[in-house]
């Protein structure tokens, strides 16, 4: 499992080289990995569909209870199969769709890294690991939406998607920390068995709300739905993968995953069912009145995400079964339809349904599979979409409360859904031939047809034989969402009942709406004006506010005077330390003056003399030299107390600091006395306060010893477990290696910062 996740990242790193080596075939070659992963995940199927769940763990930071652990059960396996299976088609598809693009190598890097993050997210058992993968999907998705980085819109909407999802991620982080506190573990597999404890916990409400914000932003629920259609600035393979089949479902995955531990309460039901239902209707409504190919598909994805959220909220057995069936059905038809949208763009140059018509003779194969997928979208018998929709309607009609409003929204959605399916499945292919921007000379290449063909056909196969999907995985997935085995099953024919009647009615009503599409769109033109006051407006207002705030605080805090920076830092430190010392009533011990030795007095005298000289001299070079002497004397102190390593380091750092200052000195203007006496007195006061504070702090640490010192442990363990006699070094590179890693990272960052300051200023001036 570890190797499976890691392999995607390794291949991502190697992708540009592979692309260069294999050229035109690169999509097929790189597609081998997702295909292999799909087969690998299939090998878990027998165990999982018999109801097992498998936990695999590798220790990571045992001291912090963080381990890299994976949980394979029905839900995560369903997602893993979708991600790797559709991933295969996307990679091969992109190889042809973006053929000749100079950044194709870079594209492979990000899309493979995204696939790895997504697999990690759905398979992770540890909450921290899950969160890391969650954020990785946000970041990789940002890079993918902004793939056409020379286009200002692509950059803007990539940033918008990033802000919304990462902002939600921040809430999620707080939420999962509380969840771990409430559930008493960082492992999902344990938290899920602890549902009652979590639901009774005092933190239940805040943690639920925070997690919901995380899930709703990621899965584009109202009022955060605006970022998803904007993310269509990405190349089509990305939209097909991220914004239909995988990433946007991460929020839904999270809700489904946590259902056994958070679900079942009134607030869970009300929030999820209401937000889900409203999102569902908003999505399909906006899809109906859009004309852009990808926009229609994007809004219908919003519809699907809303439906899933609503079903998980309803939480009955039928609802959960419906949710899993709908999830599978949607991934299949939406993946196929997005790839068809790419074909329309690639072969006919059409990005808008109004530009298309009568293309069935030019693109016969594409048309056939597009219609098949659209039938599933519309929920027409005998496609798998029909099975899922029937179950969905049944679940909504049986909902424990809010029945009326949910049913109304569901029926309206079903009607508009049929109309949207007609727009996708009829408009481009039938009717009079419309002149497309490009005249298609031939149907799409095999690499681009494989995905729609297989995905759309699976929709038909699972529709005719729902047991195939059911016994295979859907039942196990619903069981892991419910936290208990599921008795229900999927069937194509449920007899003549209300859901069937609604389906039939929505087919007719939806057909009429499609017939009157032009008029309906015109009648709905007011929505555009209303949308100007929608949530996206709020987003832009917030961003403007954020920029204004940062400008203000930069003006105040970073005014360009080094003096003020130092004052702020020093005053803050002294103030915080002082207050803390007061609060905790830190005592200050006395000193044993008699133990002072003569050489120590001498060193102290040199220290004080160098310090005074550095402060009082009027020559810069003199001050630098005095500081150097100060540093070397401190090194002497270290050596005296047998900290040889620290002493050597101090000497070297002092040397380099002096050199650094000498390099800078040349660049400074002549020595001028610009500050008034009053200012200098103030500065001296601040310096004295800081110095006094540090002195007191050191004196108090001599006295206070709250814990036994860890030094003895290091001294004892250095040779047996660290194999080294230099304790300082063993601590640095072995016992505390993670700290050192952090330190060298800071060092590297500082160097890059200096580099940027020097270089970019020089460029500005030019």
């Amino acid at each position: 499992m570890l190797y499976a996740i890691l392999s995607t990242f390794l291949l991502a790193a190697a992708a540009p080289a592979v692309h260069r080596l294999t050229g035109r075939a690169s999509g097929w070659v790189l597609g081998l990995l997702p295909a292999a992963l799909f087969v690998y995940f299939l090998s878990f199927l027998p165990a999982v569909s018999s109801g097992e769940s498998i936990v695999l763990a590798w220790p990571w930071l045992p001291g912090l209870d963080i381990q890299l652990s994976f949980l394979v059960d029905g839900l995560s396996l369903l997602f893993a199969l979708l991600i790797s299976g559709i991933g295969f088609f996307i990679v091969t598809y992109a190889g042809r769709y973006l053929e000749g693009d100079r950044d194709l190598g870079r594209f492979y890097v990000i899309i493979l890294a995204f696939m790895g993050s997504m697999l990690g997210l759905v398979l992770a058992d540890n909450l921290v690991a899950m969160f890391v993968f969650w954020e990785l999907t946000s970041i990789t998705s940002y890079l993918l939406i902004g793939y056409n980085h020379e286009n200002a819109d692509a950059r803007k909407y990539a940033l918008q998607g990033l802000f919304v999802t990462v902002g939600g991620g921040l809430a999620l982080l707080a939420g999962i920390i509380m969840l771990a506190m409430a559930g008493g573990s960082w492992e999902l597999s344990e938290i899920l068995n602890n549902g009652d404890v979590v639901r009774e916990h005092a933190l239940y409400l805040p943690l639920l709300l925070l997690i919901l914000i995380g899930a709703f932003t990621k899965s584009a629920q109202v009022p955060f739905h605006f970022w998803l259609p904007r993310a269509m600035a990405a190349p089509t393979p990305v939209s097909a993968y991220l914004h239909s089949a995988t990433m946007v479902k991460a929020g839904v995955y999270l809700l489904a995953r946590l259902n056994p531990s958070l679900g079942g309460t009134d607030i869970w039901f009300t929030t999820l069912a209401l937000f889900g239902a409203v999102t569902m209707f908003t999505g399909v409504f906006l899809a109906f009145r859009s004309t852009g190919v990808k926009k229609v598909l994007a809004y219908s994805t919003v519809m699907a995400l809303g439906t899933l959220t609503m079903l998980i909220g309803i939480g009955t057995e039928t609802a959960l079964l419906a949710a899993m069936a709908f999830l599978l059905a949607h991934s299949l038809y939406k993946g196929a339809l997005f790839m068809v949208a790419g074909i329309l763009d690639h072969e006919a140059g059409a990005k808008d349904f109004l530009q298309t018509g009568g293309l069935r003779s030019a693109l016969p194969v594409t048309a056939a599979f597009a219609i098949l997928a659209a039938l599933s979208l519309g929920g027409v018998i005998p496609l798998f979409g029909f099975v899922a929709k029937e179950l969905m309607l049944e679940a909504v009609l049986d909902a424990p409360s809010l029945g009326g409003i949910l049913a109304l929204l569901a029926v309206l959605t079903a009607i508009l859904g049929v109309a949207v399916a007609a727009i996708v499945g009829i408009r481009p292919w039938f009717g009079p031939k419309v002149d497309t921007p490009k005249t298609p000379h031939h149907d799409a290449p095999v690499a681009m047809l494989a995905g729609p063909a297989v995905l759309a056909s699976l929709g038909l196969i699972f529709g005719l034989g729902p047991g195939l999907a059911d016994e295979g995985l859907i039942n196990a997935a619903a069981a892991s969402v419910q936290g208990a085995p599921v008795d229900g099953y999927l069937a194509l024919w449920h007899g003549i009942n209300w859901p069937l009647a609604i389906s039939a009615f929505s087919l007719v009503a939806g057909g009429v709406l499609y017939w009157r599409w032009e008029q309906a769109r015109r009648a709905l033109a007011w929505v555009d004006r209303a949308a100007e006051y929608g949530p996206e407006k709020g987003y832009f207002k917030m961003m403007d506010g954020l920029v204004a705030l940062s400008e203000w605080q930069t003006r105040v805090l970073q005014n360009g005077y080094l003096r003020y920076y130092v004052i702020v830092i020093v005053a803050m430190t002294a103030g915080l330390v002082g207050v803390t010392a007061q609060l905790f009533d830190v005592g200050v011990g006395g000193l044993d003056w008699a133990a002072l030795k003569i050489h120590e007095v001498a060193i102290l005298a040199i220290l004080v003399a160098s310090m005074l000289f550095a402060v009082l001299t009027r020559s810069r070079l003199g001050a630098v030299a005095a500081l150097g002497s100060l540093g070397f004397t401190v090194a002497l102190v270290y050596v005296l107390y047998s900290a040889a390593d620290v002493g050597i380091t101090q000497v070297l750092v002092e040397t380099l600091t002096v050199i650094l200052l000498v390099l800078v000195l040349f660049r400074l203007p002549g020595f001028l006395n610009l500050s008034s006496t009053a200012l200098r007195v103030r500065d001296a006061g601040i310096a004295l306060v800081m110095g006094g504070m540090i002195t007191l702090l050191i004196l108090s640490t001599l006295d206070a010893r709250l814990f036994p010192s860890i030094s003895q442990y290091f001294i004892d363990e250095s040779v047996p477990s660290g194999y080294g006699r230099n304790i300082v070094n063993v601590v640095l590179v072995d016992f505390r290696a993670l700290d050192t890693l952090g330190e060298i990272f800071v060092l590297a960052l500082a160097a890059i910062g200096v580099y940027a300051m020097l270089r970019f200023r020089a460029e500005d001036r030019r």
Partner: protein, 141 residues
Amino acid sequence: MNMHSLILRTAGHFLLPLLLLFSVFLLLRGHDEPGGGFIGGLVAAAAIVLYLFSMDIQSARKVLRVDPRDVLGVGMVLAVISAIPGVFRGEAFFTAQWWEFTAPLFGEMKLSTVLIFDIGVYLVVIGSVLTIMLNLAEAED
């Protein structure tokens, strides 16, 4: 900023290889005696800076052969990579792994992820110091 000092130039020529060797010596013996990646890195960086003072920036860059920013990056990568082998042995991330073997000529040798990590630190220190120093020196011209 050539100092035009014959003594410094001659000394710089001779001291550079000696100091670099010394820095590697410090790096390798660091686990048992005073030294280590940080100190070794500082010595190596100081050696190049001395050369920079005695000659000029072009020759300092030439003697370094690679851009200090690349040294920095390679160092970070090495430090991170050294954390990973432990995971494959079923131990925690960053657990040190040791390999002991007997090599001809050298006798018994010990290699470890700790050494890789220390080399990473060594390179990061060299890279950071020289990125700052060389660019400051260049900005001055």
